[in-house]
């Protein structure tokens, strides 16, 4: 087991496109690190650079105190689970799991002991003689994990291991992976685009966008203190609402009315003109079902367009008009997030007891103290609490690089999106 240190890692392809740009992440020994981001953000490339399947253009990859940039994958002693499992179809499950041991020249007794151990852990005992072709998706997934845990690897690397499973199995395997990692206590780097996996599995989460690390923090920090618009929009489901806002003193003018925010937040956003306010759906509520004691925020009346009732909660949608500069930024964000939102609308999560129906004009409450304010030009979160936001390398010089890259990338953006 070992710590993995990535220092200013850059991956540039032949055409000069930086798939990974100056990323530095330290994964502590035994830590479960998640790399997350929309497709094309470079998370898989980064993982493949750790394992050695991609060359590193510049920067240092240090595993267990040893620089491994120029080592072949087999000399790095890492175990990887591939997205499509990459099982050897001509070998039985037993031999698939035994494959790394056989290559290492282990004796037959040792192989047998370790394979049986792994298969017991993963409940594969009755499948050992079968070929991967005859297994279900979940079983194949477990065989791939067996092949990883059977050796004493320095670290586990997972490349979207659950994306090929159906929803129910995915939930089960997710818990299974978490349990396994806690028990083995092995350093793990896990790539996913699924934010549920990111939030539930990781000790820390690294959010990437177009090859640049946006924020590296615990799931809670990411959720409560996103450093910029991208992280705020990426983490959370349904996503955070973004509204045009202007701050005057302690009050914030939003499309549906004016609310007050705490003084220290207001101070940071003074005199910046038009801003983007970010409020999570659950910080709204139907005023009719609330305890009056909780009434610390503001209320407003608005016509509800659509209601989706899920039993424990309900989502209400309220369309609003945004000025063009905000609209532009939100569309850009939507493209960055691989989304296709057609209109600007407010998503509100209501209590299941709420009786609001479609077309009703309802009185709604908002907890404005939880509001974030973003600079529309840079996307930066003005109200972030730096002590509880983990690290974000975009603080200093790299943010300039990021902006430049954005500026270069913007004209071709739509084509890129179309290709993906």
């Amino acid at each position: 087991m070992a710590a993995i240190e990535m220092k200013n890692i850059v991956k540039q392809y032949g055409d000069g496109f930086p798939a990974v740009n100056d990323v530095s992440i330290d994964v502590a020994d035994g830590e479960f690190m998640i790399l997350v981001g929309p497709s094309g953000c470079g998370k898989s490339t980064l993982l493949r650079m750790i394992v050695g399947l991609e060359d590193i253009t510049s920067g240092d990859m240090v595993i267990g105190g040893k620089r491994v940039n120029d080592l072949a994958p087999r000399d790095r002693n890492l175990a990887m689970v591939f997205q499509n499992y990459a099982l050897y179809p001509h070998l039985s499950v037993y031999e698939n799991i035994a494959f790394p041991l056989r290559l290492a020249g282990a004796s037959n007794e040792e192989v047998d002991k370790k394979v049986r151990n792994a298969s017991k852990t993963l409940e594969l005992d009755e499948h050992l003689d079968r070929k991967p072709g005859n297994l279900s998706g979940g079983q194949r997934q477990r065989v791939a994990m067996g092949r990883a845990i059977v050796r004493d690897a320095e670290a586990f690397l997972f490349d979207e291991p659950l994306s090929n499973l159906d929803a129910k199995l995915r939930g089960q395997m997710r818990t299974e992976i978490a349990r396994l990692q806690r028990r083995l206590g092995i350093t793990t780097v896990y790539v996913t685009h699924d934010q549920t996996e990111a939030m539930t599995l990781g000790d820390r989460v690294a959010v990437l966008k177009r090859g640049i690390l946006q924020q590296l923090a615990t799931p809670r920090e990411l959720y409560t203190n996103p450093v910029n618009l991208f992280v705020a929009g990426f983490i959370g489901s349904p996503p955070m609402n973004f509204l045009p806002a202007t701050v005057e003193g302690n009050s914030v003018k939003l499309p549906f009315g004016t609310v007050t925010i705490p003084e220290e937040k207001a101070k940071k956003a003074q005199g910046k003109g038009l801003l983007i306010a970010g409020i999570r759906p659950e910080h709204f509520e139907d005023a009719a079902v609330m305890d009056s004691a909780k009434h610390s925020g503001s209320t407003f009346r608005e016509k509800v367009d659509v209601v989706e009732w899920l039993g424990n909660e309900a989502y209400a949608y309220i369309p609003f008009e945004a000025p063009p500069e905000v609209q532009e930024q939100l569309l850009q964000l939507e493209r960055d997030l691989d989304g296709e939102a057609l209109r600007t609308q407010l998503v509100i999560s209501l209590d299941g007891a709420s009786r609001i129906k479609e077309g009703d004009e309802a009185e709604l409450w908002v907890d404005s103290s939880k509001m974030h304010l973003f600079d529309p030009a840079t996307g930066e979160n003005l109200t972030v609490d730096p002590s509880a936001a983990g690290t974000s390398p975009a603080d200093t010089s790299t943010s300039k690089v990021a902006e430049q890259q954005d500026a270069i990338a913007s004209p071709g953006e739509q084509e890129d999106a179309a290709q993906e």
Binding site: P73, A86, F99
Partner: protein
């Protein structure tokens, strides 16, 4: 799909009869005595079935003159075909792997050259080869036949195999490398077994070409030290030059066909692709 009707079966029958009638005729001929084939009115079935022809050809009678040459030719056929096949498959596997996996300059050129060689008429090369082989002292030797057989079968083998290699997901190899394999181990333990159907297909095609080839075999050999069965059969003259020993020729044909049938029956299941199913999510 529509249920197959009577017409389909009639079609099958017509094609079967069309294809198998000559084979049946040869088998029937091989059981006829020499006397029966020279009489005026031939029958389809032998009037008086006999194993004599087989006994003569395989040296089970006192007269060893015919059998000696035929068995030597059989030995040559097996040796040359097997050596040519093994070499061609090894070279083709490595070449096809490089073509399927690596990006290098002149890749298209290699592929089109290979195709050009495959299209080249063999007959046009017989003259030059004859002269060259005499100069190089390869005339009437095993390598003298093995080299051209390999050359003419390599293109097809390379094309077949590179198609198979392209089908194998990259991840297989990468997984093997992460598991601790060298490139060579990954190739030998993962890629080649997965491409086995392709390797067998290429091997069978090469073997059949070498086994059945006649033009080069007759032109580049002069004695039974390297003459193969198809060439040797043209030397079955018999006592009367105007009456070739049809029954013996038919017997020789049956004998050389048997290995081919055995090979096809043995390997037909291996040729069937689909071994890669289950490698990745499917």
């Amino acid at each position: 799909m529509r249920k197959s009707g009577v017409g389909t079966y009639v079609g099958f029958l017509v094609i079967l009869v069309w294809c198998l009638l000559p084979v049946a005729w040869i088998v029937s001929l091989s059981f006829k005595s020499l006397a029966e084939t020279t009489t005026g009115s031939p029958h389809f079935l032998p009037q008086d079935a006999t194993w004599d022809n087989y006994k003569v050809l395989l040296g089970m009678t006192s007269d060893k003159s015919t059998s000696h040459d035929f068995i030597a030719a059989l030995r040559n056929s097996f040796g040359i075909s097997i050596v040519a096949t093994v070499l061609a498959v090894i070279i083709a596997t490595l070449a096809a792997y490089a073509i399927a996996r690596l990006e290098f300059k002149g890749k298209r050129l290699v592929l089109s050259l290979a195709l050009a060689i495959a299209m080249f008429p063999v007959v046009s090369l017989v003259g030059p080869l004859f002269d060259m082989w005499r100069t190089f002292h390869l005339f009437n030797t095993w390598p003298g036949l093995i080299i051209p057989y390999m050359t003419f079968t390599l293109p097809l083998a390379i094309w077949t195999l590179s198609a198979f290699f392209r089908e194998i997901p990259w991840e297989m190899e990468q997984a093997a490398q992460v598991d601790g394999a060298t490139s060579w181990q990954a190739f030998r333990k993962v890629i080649v077994p997965l491409a086995a159907p392709g390797v067998f297909t290429a091997a069978i095609l090469t073997f059949f070409f070498a086994w059945n080839e006649f033009v080069l075999a007759i032109s580049l050999t002069s004695t039974t030290s390297s003459r193969t069965v198809p060439a040797q059969m043209s030397y079955f003259v018999g006592p009367d030059p105007f009456n070739p020993p049809y029954s013996q020729l038919a017997t020789a044909s049956v004998i050389v066909t048997i290995p081919v049938i055995v090979i096809v029956l043995l390997f037909q299941r291996r040729i069937v692709a689909g071994l890669t199913s289950g490698a990745v999510k499917g």
